[in-house]
Every structure is written in C-alpha cells, then in structure tokens.
Amino acid sequence: MANKKKKLMQGNMACVEGAIYSGMQFFAGYPITPSTEIAEGCSRELPKIGGRFIQMEDEIGSIAAVIGASIAGMKSFTATSGPGYSLMQENLGYAFITETPLVVINVQRGGPSTGLPTKVSQSDTMQARWGPHGDYAAIAVAPSTVQECHTETVRAFNLSERFRTPVTILLDEVIGHSRGVISLPEKGELEVYNRVKPTASPEEVLPFEMTPNLVSPMAGYGEGYRFHVTGLTHDVHGFSTNRSDEIFPKLDKLHNKILNYRDEISKLRIENMDDAEVAFISYGSVSRAALQATAIAREAGVKVGCIQLYTIWPFPEKELRQICANCSKVIVGELNMGQIIHEIERVLPGDIEIHAKQRYDGEIMTPMQLLEKLEEVL
C-alpha cells in the first residue's frame, strides 16, 4: 500500500496530480515545450475523473476558456511557457480585475521570443509580476522538486481560491522535466481550500461586495445568483463605473486582499542561516544547486546559509530583511540576467553587500558555480 502512493514522475506530471488533488476539473491549453506534458497528462487523466480537457486554438483562447470555466464554478488551470505566457497577459489582467481564481503554470525556457525552447531558464520572473497592463497584485510560487511540484500546485490552487485571484506557478524546464520519486498524499493529508460561496439570498448578494477580508463570496453560474462580470473597472454590483469613490476601493481591494495577507502567502526554506555570514538567495532549480553548495561549503567550514523562495510574489520583503539581518553578504543566484535581484536590492538595507550569480545560456546552475562565487565574495 505504501508503495502504491510512491511514483517516479516528471515534475510536469506532478503538477497535474497536484491539480487533481486540489479538485481541479478543467484544463484548457495549447501545447508548448517544455510544458506540454501537463496538457498531455490532463488529456489522459481528466476524462477518467469526469473532468474536462480542451485543447484551444491558442493561448489567448486557453486562458479565456479557463476563466469562463472558473466563473462557471470549476477549479481550472492552464499550462504554458514564455511565448504562451506573453500571449495570456491581457486575459490574465481580466482575471485580476474580475477576481477569478485560476492557476497558470509557466514552465520557463530560454527567451526572449522563441529563444531556447528546450533549455532551462528563469527569465519570466518579473513578467509574472508586471506582465499585464494596469495595476494589480500578483501571486507566484516556485517549486524546486517533483514532490514540491505537487505541494506547490495544491498551494497555488488554495491561494487562488482563498484570494479569488489568478496564481502563477513558475517552473523551470529542469523542474518540469526531471523525474523524481514522489509520494502522493492521501485525501485529507494536504489542506484543500474551496472558494467561499455566497449564502445570503440572491437579492442581498453583491458579487463584488467589500467584505472584511476583501474577498467577495463567489457563486458559480447557474447557482441561483445571476451576476455580471466585466473587465471594465466596476462597482460592488459588477457594473462599470467612472466614479472615484468606487474605483479607488476596487483597485485597493485588488492589492490589499493580497498584501494584507502576505504572512499567509509567504513561504521560504531557510537552511543554515543561524550563524551564516553569507546567504544564497534563490528559487526553483537554482535552489537545489544552492542547497548542495551550502552543504558542501559548510563541510569545508564556511559560514554560509541558504534561503529558498517558494513564494516569489508578493515578494517576501519582511521575511528576507529579518532572515538576512545578521548577514553581511548575499549571493542571488538566478537563471536570467538579473530579475529578482532588483527586488532584493530594493528591500535589503544598504549595508548588506548584494552579489549576483547569473546564468542564461540554457544550462542549469551548478553547485560549483555558486561555490566559486562564494569564494570570490568571501
């Protein structure tokens, strides 16, 4: 029995399992390397559980169908890579303003443009924050192992349902394509959050009501609450408005329903930081190299620690400032030309030296590269 739950599985497929575990029933997508196995996995698995898989004509249609399905009441998601993620930006903005829960997995490959389609990268990190036009607060998470692909997918669905907002899972090609041993949790083992539905009578319910936690209960279509959804800036009824006293609260809500709950959303892995003088800060596959490098360097007596970001957005500023308080230096490792390092420069006090180790040739960061950088900055 114990064996039955263990499997050797690709990260991409672990995301599918995590989504199904979360109660996801709807996938719409368009194939793209290196995310395609997620679509393929859904096309195989969803019919078996009475769910729905549809291959759309493009990524714009995919995210549109996912939003439609979510508004209809189903937990829904899609998966893509850089080029498709770029195409989804307009409708992602629609999901933000309409407060539609959904999950997008971006299995990152080298960019810009078609770039390095089969090679690893983390160069869509900032796009996950700033991709769509307009103002909104974004949530993005980044797993680093096959097991974490499962848990972070469950977490992503939970966050999206909890906060009525789209959530991006930033995978990178190495995480998506590597196979690892995963133990699939039993039902109930992990928390699964479902969106809050309205309970008052239809006449009393305002679909975009200002609640204490700023998340409005959300009925599905056909559940007795007829409501209007629009991408125009709208009031609590969902009707478009040009009134300052309705626009400000709406946009503040998009921000604050998330930023007020950073503590719930932030998640980090902290290793060997108690006495660390230098810290590696990284996420995704680079964290695996950083953990390895930390272990190796500690063996050699170097006081180095390792901080892995599972939550990328909202950026865990407070936590980082705390954890790094006693460091004199940090090394930010990324598979790009410098993205999250901008945030680190912004939030860490000026007296902490910030060093970058960046790789962007489509290959994974190695522990050795980080160790060499460490020696260099020591």
């Binding site: 719409a28 078996k48 759309m56 439609g68 399905a69 629609y94 007829r226 209007h228 629009t230 991408g231």
Partner: protein, 281 residues
C-alpha cells in the same frame, strides 16, 4: 410585410436587469437595442430558465448588450467572447450559452476563435451584430466595411475586401448559419429562435445600423434611413437563389443560409468521459 408576432410588447421589460441604469448607453436609434428586443422575445418563447442562461460578449457597442439582461452575463475582452463562452459551456454543458458580438469583435481580433467555434460545433449561439464598422472606438473600418466605403481609417475609401461572415462560418464548418437585419424584426426573431434551438454551433448575422459613424461618414442618413436601406437591399434566400450574381451585388441575402446535422462537441466529450469512467469502474 412580415407576420404579426404574438409576443406581448412588455415581455422585454421583464428580462431587464434590476439595478442597471436605463436607457442604454447606445446612440438614439442604434440597432443594438432592436436586436436585444428580438433576442429577449426569442428566449422568452423558448421558456428558458434565466438562471440557466449565460450570455457572453466581447468589447464594442454591440458587446454591451448582455449587460442589460437579467441572466448570467460576462462582458469579456475584445474578440474573446467565444473562448470565454466555450469555457462556460464545456464546464456546464447544461447551460444555454449565447454570445453577442460585433463585426470587429468577432471577425477582426476575434476571427480565430470564431472559426474554431464553428469547427468545434460547440452548442453556442453567436449573434453577430454587423454594422460594418467599429462603433465603440469611433468609426474605424472593420473586416465587413465594404470596399470604397469611408471610415475614419479609410478616409479615401476602403481598399480592402470584406468578409461575408456567413460564408466564412460555412467554410469553417458551422452547422447553422443565418442572416437577418434590424429592419426585419419578426424574421430576426425567427432566425434567433431557430439558432437557439439548433444543437451545435449556430450563427445569426444581424445586419444593423451605426448611423452615428457608418451612416454619417457614408451619407446614408439616420437610423430610419438606414433601416429603409436594409429593407430595400435585402432579398430572402428563396428569391435570391433565382437571381444572378450581378443582380445580387450589394444585396443582403436573408434567411437560413446553411444547416447541417453534426455531433456536438460537449456531447462527444461526454461519451469519452463515460467510456473512460466505466472502464475505471
């Protein structure tokens, strides 16, 4: 003239959304309102539970239509009404899903979704309000602006050719295609009724007036004048089949232009689900 409908005149009022400000944002005389009336009467005839109706639109004057109706409504992004609607329909196949779209929304930016909805034969009725122009943004040319006509982006006359939305839909595989105009309201009701009852993807092209832009720029006069143009320049399909191409030039051929039986997407998928689930046990 067409037959008198049996519809009560105030049935429309019964479907208007409580809490939404009236009258509409549309210009006086805009055909969008005429289509809205016909659509409501058709829905009412079918006796559908309005809690079971989802109406989806894109962006444009025409796409404002669903907002006024007391059903589930989704005013989506420009050109994307059909994939949004596909998501709703596929998630809840029991719902009646109607898309309201404009010539720009459906055929310019939304052209890809349009042909794929036709191909997929998903059970959605799309009502394309074709006013031959972009009304909402102030009168630019659309893919149905006829050659030589003036718009704010074809100030010297349009050098492009226009789509025939119905032919495009047929070429893409749609299983029900009809055309009507805002002048021919009883006919419009009939076409809408047939489309809504059709199982699979159905398209009704509703030729409509944007006198504010298309009419003004092309000296076609006000709403009344444009409706009369629709009257004069329309031929019913039956009659049209006896006319030459030459005679049909510049005319709107009205009626059910195409219809064929075909399996529906959600049904087919459900069969697959049933097969897989029964396999599983």
């Amino acid at each position: 003239m067409a037959t008198v409908t049996k519809q009560k005149s105030d049935v429309v009022l019964d479907y208007l959304r409580p809490g939404k400000k009236f009258p509409s944002v549309w210009c006086p005389g805009c055909g969008n309102g005429i289509v809205m009336g016909a659509l409501i009467r058709a829905i009412d005839k079918l006796g559908w539970d309005r809690d079971n109706i989802a109406m989806v639109s894109g962006i444009g004057c025409s796409s404002r239509l669903p907002i006024y109706l007391d059903v589930h409504t989704l005013h989506s992004t420009h050109g994307r009404a059909l994939p949004f609607a596909t998501g709703i329909k596929f998630a809840k196949p029991g719902m009646k899903v109607i898309v309201v779209t404009g010539d720009g929304d459906a055929l310019a930016i939304g052209g890809n979704h349009f042909i794929h909805a036709c191909r997929r034969n998903i059970d959605i009725t799309a009502i394309l309000i074709n006013n031959n122009i972009y009304g909402m943004t102030g009168g630019q040319g659309s893919p149905t602006t006829p050659a030589e006509k003036i718009s704010t982006t074809t100030p010297f006359g349009n050098v492009e050719k226009q789509f025939d939305p119905c032919q495009l839909a047929i070429g893409a595989g749609a299983s029900y295609v009809a055309r009507t105009t805002v002048y021919h309201t009883p006919h419009m009701e009939k076409m809408l009724l047939a489309a809504l009852e059709h199982k699979g993807f159905s398209l009704v092209e509703a030729v409509s007036n944007c006198h504010t832009y298309f009419g003004r720029l092309n000296r076609q006069g006000d709403a009344v004048a444009m409706l009369n143009l629709f009257k004069e320049n329309s031929v019913m399909k039956g009659k049209a089949s006896k006319m030459t191409d030459e005679e049909l030039k510049g005319k709107w051929v009205l009626g059910t232009l195409h219809e064929h039986e075909a399996t529906e997407f959600c049904d087919e998928y459900q069969k697959l689900v049933d097969a897989q689930m029964s396999k599983r046990g």
